[in-house]
Symmetry: C2
Subunit: 198 residues, 2 copies
Amino acid sequence: MARPRKFDEQQVLRSATEAFWTSGFAATSLDDLMQATGLGKGSLYGTFGDKQALFQRVLDGYCADATADLHARLSGPESSAATRLRALFHAVAAAGGIPIPQRACLLAKSTAELAATNTEVAAKARQTFTTIAELLQAEVEHAQATGDIPADRDARRTAHHLLAVLRGMEALTEAGMDASVLRDAADIALEAAGLTAT
Amino acid sequence: MARPRKFDEQQVLRSATEAFWTSGFAATSLDDLMQATGLGKGSLYGTFGDKQALFQRVLDGYCADATADLHARLSGPESSAATRLRALFHAVAAAGGIPIPQRACLLAKSTAELAATNTEVAAKARQTFTTIAELLQAEVEHAQATGDIPADRDARRTAHHLLAVLRGMEALTEAGMDASVLRDAADIALEAAGLTAT
DNA sequence: CCACATGTTGACCGAACGGTCCAGAACAAA
DNA sequence: TTTGTTCTGGACCGTTCGGTCAACATGTGG
């Protein structure tokens, strides 16, 4: 009973994500959020709580999407795990190199801005990074099963190294570093994992 | 002639650095800066200009200090270049692992927060990252000269990979990731560079 | 068709924001 | 001591901030 909502919550979250993604948490005002979502303050507060709570929802959704996307990129027929790993790193390298303004990964931005003072953001970042590491580890193991990565490698430690390189490439992309730097990092990281080039 | 200043500009910049470092640019108010530096608004504006200009001064100083520190860690007798590279990566790994609140590198925070909208910040980040890459490359070449790194490695590409791992470790540290993850990343990065472990 | 529960809107709030400005303090030069 | 110049502190400004609230709109269940 009672009056139904006029908006789609998921769509509003997507719009709010855009706003936070563009400017960060502190620099995104409620007016920005109202303009981006088309909702009034009352609806925003009634539905999501305060700015902090809305941001947390946005970040949770972003991390879920990001890990789902990575899962989609990495899971698949085991026979081509090596190819998929190479494709992932080359894609991340190619995403950089575009001159700024570059819109960095929202999780990276949020962690840098808030993790030191907001334990929930830090926990979400840790959880997401851990999940990414696990996905990478599984992929390394798949590549080992097909002989594309030597069997004597420690898949877990290899995955941790690949995770660090991915996050480092992200950080370099934020600054607009040359694409060649990113490619070098990606290539050598793949070699270090035991994969042959290209 | 005229009234002399009551404060030391360098000391004020150090205090302002602390303030920005703790909270980021947007979340540091002029009142915070006044409290941190002990100066009134008039002196702050008369000496440094507006908040943006003061921040730029702070960031420039931080980057200069950071590269000077890295130079000090890496330069030295050529005979131990390999040892110094190992020490650097192990130190960065050890700096992580401490539970949050972790105060991340100011440059990393600033780049994430502002590089997309402030070309000066982005330029400073690119310049600093490039300088770090050059320092790493020089060190790789030193290690090659002493035979600690195989001579057939491309020092430049190796340095780019090491840079990415360093920035990635920084990003993981922000989130408070386990020290073991950082150590794995550091160890494998050093191995990938051709250095034997420890 | 009515009563009620919920959603929506925007006026409104006190606080905090970045920034300006000026009256007076403090020193150097005369 | 006087004069001139700079520096200092904080009152003050208009704006914007995050957040609240009450009047009103819009449906549903009876």
